[in-house]
Symmetry: C2
Subunit: 161 residues, 2 copies
């Protein structure tokens, strides 16, 4: 887990407003990790065999889109989604704009698009976030719109209080 | 990669029609793997610390939604999306209906919802698929709608022919 020292102060529902942006951290994607992830979760030649990948649609090794999504989550959990109670996603829409290649360094920008208070649970809301993942050439590799839960301070379900 | 022997014959664009369904394979989710995935990609207490997870929203260890998505991809790549040229996703919308717990065994059902021929590339189409991931109690854990590329036989871009 991220160091408590480097992690930003958590924000609660009452701290959030539309248009707020968060970022932070970066993640270097190695060929070794692309292949290891793909062998476990997306075993296709263009994701796990650099030589065979040359004769595919991707014309070379490319990270699984699900790997890009997982790395994006890591960057969110490490600071780009500093929500009290954690990042609890209900769902997400992901577009893979361009493949991630070995050696790229990814970072994210995360923006609050909408805050929809719960009718039945007064201290809870569904927050819509737009998360753009870019490589170190500032090219967008993934765009994600997600719906996550946010809670008022002192009202995290399940938490000891 | 899956055994060539157990992998179904690939289907090409001309073989596909709306309403076709695919399934195949299962994946047992261990506590060890939930924690390993979470430590790398979603380092939050409810995904990587069984004891701390008890005092969270999830009231116990739960797999990261991105882990559920990655396992779904594995089941698709192993046979539930038997497309010639591979499973090349443009994007996906994922809903996490219920958390995946240690010990559950996941399987998928994958259905062709729509086939949209490309205007500019005559041998190519965007296929919309709906993939339902269930646990071994037949409870739906994830619903995904994805857009993937399909190609006519003999027209895989980048492939030696």
């Amino acid at each position: 887990m991220p160091d408590a020292e480097t992690r930003p102060e958590p924000l609660y529902l009452e701290d959030l407003s539309t248009g707020m942006k968060f970022s932070g951290g970066s993640y270097a994607v190695t060929e070794e990790e692309i292949i290891a992830f793909a062998k476990q979760y997306d075993p296709q030649p263009f994701h796990c065999d650099p030589e065979a990948a040359k004769q595919t649609f991707f014309q070379g090794l490319a990270a699984s889109g699900w790997h890009t999504a997982a790395i994006t989550m890591r960057l969110l959990a490490e600071g780009a989604m500093p929500f009290g109670g954690g990042s609890i996603g209900l769902g997400a829409e992901v577009s893979w704009v361009r493949p991630v290649r070995p050696g790229e360094v990814l970072s994210v920008e995360n923006e609050v698009m909408e805050i929809m208070p719960s009718r039945s649970k007064p201290h809870q809301a569904i927050v819509t976030l737009r998360t753009t993942t870019r490589n170190d050439k500032n090219q967008t590799v993934q765009i994600m719109t997600s719906k996550v839960l946010a809670f008022n301070r002192g009202h995290i379900p399940g938490a000891l209080s």
